[in-house]
Amino acid sequence: MGKRRKVLQGNIIVARAAIDAGCNFFAGYPITPSSEIAQYMSREMPKLGRDFIQMEDEIASLGACIGASLAGRKVLTATSGPGFSLMQEHLGMGVMAEIPLVIVNVMRGGPSTGLPTKPSQSDVMQTRWGTHGDHPIIVLTPAFASELYSETVRAFNLSERFWNPVILLYDEVLAKAHEDIELPYKKDLEIYKEKVHKIKDLDIYDREIGQNPHRVDFFKGYPIHIDGLEHDKHGWPTSEPGTVQKQQTLRMQKIYHYLDDIIKYNEYYMDDAEILVFAFGVSARAALPAVEMARELGIRAGLFQPLTLWPFPKQILRQRFSRIKKVLTVELNMGQVRYEMERVASDDVEKRALLRANGIPFTPGEVLDQIKEF
């Protein structure tokens, strides 16, 4: 298997991966620290005969993406916290109408305009619960250069497979750092290709639990209706309680039925670990050397690095906590994943968290100090 070795900026790795994954429509709006993705796409997409458009705001960007997705395109948009806040309206539309979408959210310090040029991990809960209403969501959190590439490809695959928005969540440090990467050849990528759905009597949402809608794109010969209102099996608006409840369940189960296919994580030094360090994104970059240093000191620490942050890797963590009774959550915010950890780990697990929200990422030494305190 051949490799292409390069030094590339994080945002550019993501943009290249998206193009390699077959993304053929990008709509975006400039925002620090994600703008390089839009800039790269504006230059490269037309070379391949693909579409790029800069819209008037982030709401419009995601709207255009949904429209293009319905017209058969593989779509991407990229933004940061403030823009992602604006996108929440259409994120909900994407879930409700079951549209494959990939959204890159490069986290910066918040709230509001906050710290545009500094990293943060404070959009954890916004990605999960930002849009109103009950909804399933998939959020991927790469931490290393190679993962920026592979998780971008996986984001497209998951969005196409589950007909749902997928968010690629990383931070300003990973976005701006130039790193050494071996780019895989396009032919070696696993790209999800959907079976063509057969439409029966236009009952596009008539399905079993765990199935996608039986729907084709626009202009394929079937005059279908797509709606942001709650809809029945034909897609027509309804508020009939039985139908509404059924549709809610179908949308949720379409994702939660296949957790094993969605949840992905890396474990380092976990086999005999006594302290579980939970860290993602830039914090995992500090936590890994910290765990290695702890090992040198004879402390049996291990790193659990989730690549899928939502749905939360609850089952696998519960298995680990049957043996490991100490957990340290490292996150660059005032405490978001730590509450999820409290829900997942039983009372006999000692839970600590290393938190900070001042725009400065953790150093391995700081994580090590916390590990040593256990």
Binding site: G67, H225, W236
Partner: protein
């Protein structure tokens, strides 16, 4: 079955509109325009936002999309850019298009992307029960202007001409035949087109302003509209509360956005890529020569 009924999705009836509502006239006018242009329903997508007008796509037997409040034009932009060969119609109300969607409206016009917008102006938020909109006439009583509206209304035609729309027309639901004709002409236009349709909401606007039935409201509309030719002869004072109708502005020469993108940007980018590849090849062969 009449020919235009091919474009109507009777399965989804009844409509949610009040008896006497102008939306039905608009629905039929659009279907008849499709019919007269002999379009394939599969080649059309009808997109709308929220409100009484937002429910209209459900009743077209074409590809249809009911989106979020004010944002229909953004979805339509994505569809048009992805499939420039298809017809993209957007239906919007006055609150939908000019308040929450005002930004998207002016930018779609500025881009001149090939979307055909039918903007139904009934001067009020009807679906939510009759609140003031940016197109409610001054002094009118609504649910949120109980002492009279103090804000001036937009002149949609002037606004969109200033925003560089290439086809701007206005018609009323009082004249269904003329409405169908102007809608049809707008559908034949290549860039961004808008037809403002002045409609009646006797339930949520008229009732609070001494026009409680459709007849009273349509008579009021009739008294407020004149042809473009007549309007141009009027003095500024006379024009103040009048709406000119017909095709108010048309620029047939301006290129449509997706046309420009596919005919200008893509070839330019591909030429740049070829030039860069050529340069790279020259550099490689030059370095090879040096080595040998």
């Amino acid at each position: 079955m009449r020919h235009y009924e091919r474009y109507i999705r009777y399965r989804t009836f009844p409509t949610p509109w009040c008896p006497g509502c102008g939306d039905g006239v608009v629905l039929k006018s659009i279907a008849m325009a499709f019919s007269e242009l002999e379009l394939d329903p599969n080649d059309i997508v009808v997109v709308a936002g929220i409100g009484c007008s937002g429910r209209m796509p459900t009743f077209f037997n074409t590809n249809t999309l009911h989106t979020t409040h004010g944002r229909a034009l953004t979805f339509a932009t994505g569809i048009k850019l992805a499939r420039p060969d298809k017809m993209v119609v957007v239906i919007s109300g006055d609150g939908d298009a000019t308040a929450i969607g005002g930004n998207h409206l002016i930018h779609a016009a500025r881009r001149n992307i090939g979307i055909n917008l039918v903007l139904i102006n009934n001067g009020v938020y009807g679906m939510t029960g009759g609140q003031v909109s940016p197109l409610t006439p001054q002094k009118f009583i609504t649910e949120t202007t109980p002492y009279g509206n103090i804000e001036p209304k937009f002149d949609i035609a002037e606004l969109l001409i200033a925003a560089k729309a290439s086809f701007v027309a206005r018609e009323t639901v009082n004249r269904p035949v003329q409405l169908k004709d102007v809608v049809k002409k707008s559908f034949q236009h290549k860039g961004f087109s808008v037809v403002e349709v002045i409609s009646n909401c006797h339930i949520n606007l008229g009732r609070r302003n001494r026009m409680k039935d459709p007849i009273a409201m349509t008579k009021w509309i009739e008294g407020r509209t004149v042809s473009k030719a007549q309007y141009e002869k009027m003095s500024p004072e006379e024009r103040l509360h009048m709406y000119p109708t017909g095709i108010l502005f048309e620029d047939k020469d301006r290129l449509e956005y997706s046309d420009l993108y596919y005919k200008h940007i893509i070839p330019a980018a591909q030429a740049a890529a070829e030039a860069a590849a050529l340069k790279q090849a020259e550099r490689t062969s030059a370095s090879r020569k040096v080595k040998s």
